[in-house]
């Protein structure tokens, strides 16, 4: 038949069927509702810090509790995996180096870091909330 057991959805790590997708959707909606409140907190506030940590730790726990041991082999040959690791690793290293170059460059307005580029966008509560959703999704993929 050529299909793996469990009809695993390749797009979402650890999600196998319709029921799982519904649960994932409900869970994500709950986290995003909480995120609306978290992203409305003042900078450096205790409530904001506790909110981000609580959301992050709850997400890690949820991801680990619902994790399945389904090692899906990537459809890439081993040589491709090595080449890809070099390419992606090199790109990540370049990004880190450039972030450090800009971080130590002055003035900040002339050497913007990723954070300082995002700062004006972060003035919008809606943008912060969407960014929170992206942060959650990335954390989910790490924790699974």
């Amino acid at each position: 038949m050529g299909r793996r057991e469990g009809h695993r959805d390749k797009r979402l790590p650890g999600v196998t069927g319709a029921t799982d997708r519904v649960r994932l959707g409900i869970g994500f909606a709950v986290f995003m509702a909480f995120g609306w409140w978290v992203t409305a907190q003042e900078p450096f506030s205790t409530a904001g810090t506790v909110g981000v940590l609580a959301a992050g730790i709850a997400l890690i726990v949820a991801a680990r509790m619902t994790r399945r041991d389904e090692a899906e082999p990537p459809d890439v040959p081993p040589t491709g995996m090595r080449r890809g690791a070099v390419l992606w690793g090199g790109l990540a290293a370049l990004a880190v180096v450039w972030e450090l170059v800009t971080l130590f460059g002055q003035p900040r307005s002339e050497h913007p870091t990723i954070s300082s580029i995002l700062d004006p966008l972060q003035a919008s509560h809606g943008f912060r909330w969407l960014l929170f959703g992206g942060w959650l999704a990335f954390g989910w993929s790490l924790a699974r």
Partner: protein, 78 residues
């Protein structure tokens, strides 16, 4: 005249910074597109999943991820 040169240099520094960020972002999009369409190299998701299979790497990554969350949503000025 010196002031004009100084302004030109500062503008070019800012522009160069954005250009480098743009090139890096473009390279990432291009790599992802090649990975998705050809399957000759892994996507960023496949690389991350293979890396975080190691529990120590996963733990360090999750701590870094929590810090990024704090940095983005608590520390950032707005």
């Amino acid at each position: 005249m010196a002031g004009v040169r100084l302004v030109a240099r500062e503008v070019s520094a800012r522009t160069a910074t954005f250009v480098v960020w743009g090139v890096l972002a473009g390279a990432a999009v291009a790599l992802q597109a090649v990975a998705t369409t050809t399957h000759r190299i892994p996507t960023i998701g496949q690389v991350i999943r293979s890396v975080v299979r190691n529990p120590i790497v996963r733990a360090v990554s999750l701590v870094a991820w929590l810090w990024v969350g704090w940095h983005l949503f608590v520390r950032s000025s707005r």
